[in-house]
């Protein structure tokens, strides 16, 4: 939660986002905001269009309709007009993937150094300064390793820095992917189901990590998640999607009590049979995998 003496800083403005694939409308007229130093969660049943929203934000899809505005250093960037790699580079949006996309054959440290490619590339001046090992490049490389070390410490992978990324256990790979995204120095971190496949202990560690990032860094977090212990525990506000439409938007408590949400998760008939207070909890528990 943002403390009272701090002004909420709008990071991302999504306005009337619609994404159609042929006759299928995956996302319909979605508008929401995300703020710096806040965790915004997008939840919804399978096929609700959550990942499509991410893909629009990060330039993998071009939205059919709508505006995506990212505020970076007082400048408003229109994401729907940018190439995917420019969104990461200039708008400072980093993401992870639902089914992890690590550089499996490279070491953990190399994964994090690749994430700082643009910084190092400009320091190496078309690789010339790098080829001759000029001090300018060497100090940039040292700084990059230092940053990698910082995040490795945070996600608890410092001991595995020189192991091949593909050989890490599943939970560690998930954490590495988050660390890699953070190494790009993002303003907005988009996490696509970071807790998928984690055991309860790992899931709790993930909560702590995300809370620490929110507390210490000037980063906004956008989260897609099925694990309700993660979503309800750490989100500042939650957006609920169903069939591509937004059906609720608010704090975890508000969303939990929203009849539309319960309907979407359990179906109309079930709702009538249950007392209202428990219905939402059951619905959300049912979604937990």
């Amino acid at each position: 939660m943002t403390s009272a003496n701090e002004v909420r800083e709008t990071l991302l403005l999504v306005e009337h986002l619609t994404m159609r694939f042929g006759g299928l409308t995956a996302v319909h007229d979605l508008s929401f905001d995300a703020y710096s130093r806040e965790i915004t969660a997008i939840i919804g049943p399978n096929g609700a269009g959550k990942t499509t929203v991410f893909n629009c934000l990060t330039g993998f899809y071009k939205p059919s309709v709508g505006r995506l505005i990212m505020h970076v250093d007082g400048e408003a960037l229109l994401l729907e007009r940018m190439d995917g790699f420019r969104i990461a580079r200039q708008a400072g949006i980093a993401r992870t993937f639902q089914n992890m996309r690590l550089f499996a054959g490279m070491t953990v440290l190399e994964n994090l150094i690749v994430a700082q490619h643009n910084l190092l590339m400009s320091a190496s001046v078309f690789s010339i300064a790098g080829l001759f090992g000029l001090p300018r490049y060497r100090s940039a490389e040292r700084a990059a390793i230092e940053r990698a070390r910082h995040w490795l410490d945070k996600v608890g992978l410092i001991e595995r820095a020189d192991s091949t990324a593909g050989t890490l256990p599943y939970g560690a790979q998930r954490r590495l992917e988050i660390a890699r995204a953070l190494c790009t120095g993002p303003a907005l971190l988009c996490l696509d189901e970071p807790a998928a496949g984690l055991n309860p202990r790992e899931s709790a560690e993930l909560n702590e990590l995300l809370l620490a990032i929110r507390a210490e860094e000037r980063i906004g977090i956008l989260l897609i998640e099925h694990d309700m212990s993660v979503v309800m525990g750490i989100s500042d506000h939650i957006i609920v999607l169903d069939y591509g439409r937004k059906i609720a938007d608010g704090t975890p408590a508000e969303v939990r009590a929203d009849p539309n949400v319960i309907k979407a998760y359990l179906g109309e008939d079930e709702l009538e049979k249950l007392p209202e207070t428990t219905a939402a909890d059951i619905a959300l528990a049912a979604d937990r995998k």
Binding site: T58, G59, F60, D83, G84, F85, R86, I87, A88, R89, A94, R95, F97, R101, L102, F103, A104, G105, M106, T107, L109, E110, I113, V114, A115, H117, N118, L120, M121, S124, S127, G130, L131, E141, I145, A148, R149, L152, I158, A161, D162, R180, A181, T184
Partner: protein, 440 residues
Amino acid sequence: MTAASGLAVEKEALATLDWAALLKDAVLAALVATLLALPLVGFQTYDIGGGALGIRTHFDWVATAAAAVFAGRLALHLRQRLRRGGERHGETLFARLGAWGNRRALPITLVGIAFAVALPLLPFSSRYLIDLGTTVLIYVMLGWGLNVVVGLAGLLDLGYVAFYAVGAYTFALLARDLGLTFWQALPFSGLVAASFGVILGLPVLRLRGDYLAIVTLGFGEIIRIVLLNWSPVTGGPNGISDIPRPSFFGLPFARSAPEGATTFHQFFGLEFSPAQRVTYIYFVILALALVTNLFTSRLRTLPIGRAWEALREDEVACRALGINPTNVKLSAFGIGAMLGGFAGCFFATRQGFISPESFTFIESATILAIVVLGGMGSQMGVVLAAILLVTLPEFGRAFAEFRMLIFGAAMVAIMVWRPRGLLAHREPSLRLRARRSAAR
């Protein structure tokens, strides 16, 4: 497991063997071998005088081939069954060799370079051996160049020989029309080849894997066919001859100097010998190859090299991290092509004559085989594979017509024992631990 129990297991395995199935399998394999061997080794044409040809039959050879395949197939299966379903026991010779090579990478490299430098001075050295060494080094250099594209960036390129051709023809044309020497033309060869690399890279940016392979294969053929048909410029199938030889800081290697010039042997007061030029050419390619190695291994530890490898691992993730895949791919194609162009320039000056015949698909295939056989991305592996691929057919000359058969068998054997290449070990481009201990 004790010896006794091991023996018991073996006996048990033998008892449960399905001999009928094994024999059937071996007979089938022998049948296939007979069918293949009949046209390949069964008949031989020979000159019966007066320009007419007669046919000689070699059914004994066919029988030998069939018997060898029968026995080999049976032995292979028996071995697998006895090892309980083909389970691998222990390490193969190559695996141990590879591990040893990785542990002692630096001394082996130094010894290898020392040997390469000393080769022409060794007592058993001959003109033939130096020539062979030169050929090996050309392939080593080409392998290192292609390694950037295939091994590091993971872009399967079946038309690499096109850049080799572009480099060679660039030098040949510059020498013929503008009178440039080898050293003057070398940078241009690289530059022109690099531009061709980028030109090839542009249309294939969206392609991966098989599709990319097909387009690059086509590109290689296009270049060759253009060279073949653009007679006014390239001389068509006749090629370009009288390409100047490299000079030693302006001193030519010739028996008698052209007017007003000093030859190499006059300058140093030596007897003239054609071996001097051959040796010098050998040292030129050795230097070029070493520079190539230094260049590519340095690039690998730079952001650009890591981006190549990241692209090979996952292009989508690269984009999500703000890496422009277009630049990364084009730089890989461009730099790989440039190195091929340098090698081509050297090839032209070494041969003194080039024609499209030197740049057929089989060359591309050989270079790719060197990279794959060596172990994708491994610099040492390329050297090993190049030596193997070039010298094996040479040593096979003693076996005359069975030379390529032995070559093929060796390839199959290597791929069976080392499916990921001879030296399939990836050294990280940087480490956290090493840095720590160095700082202390």
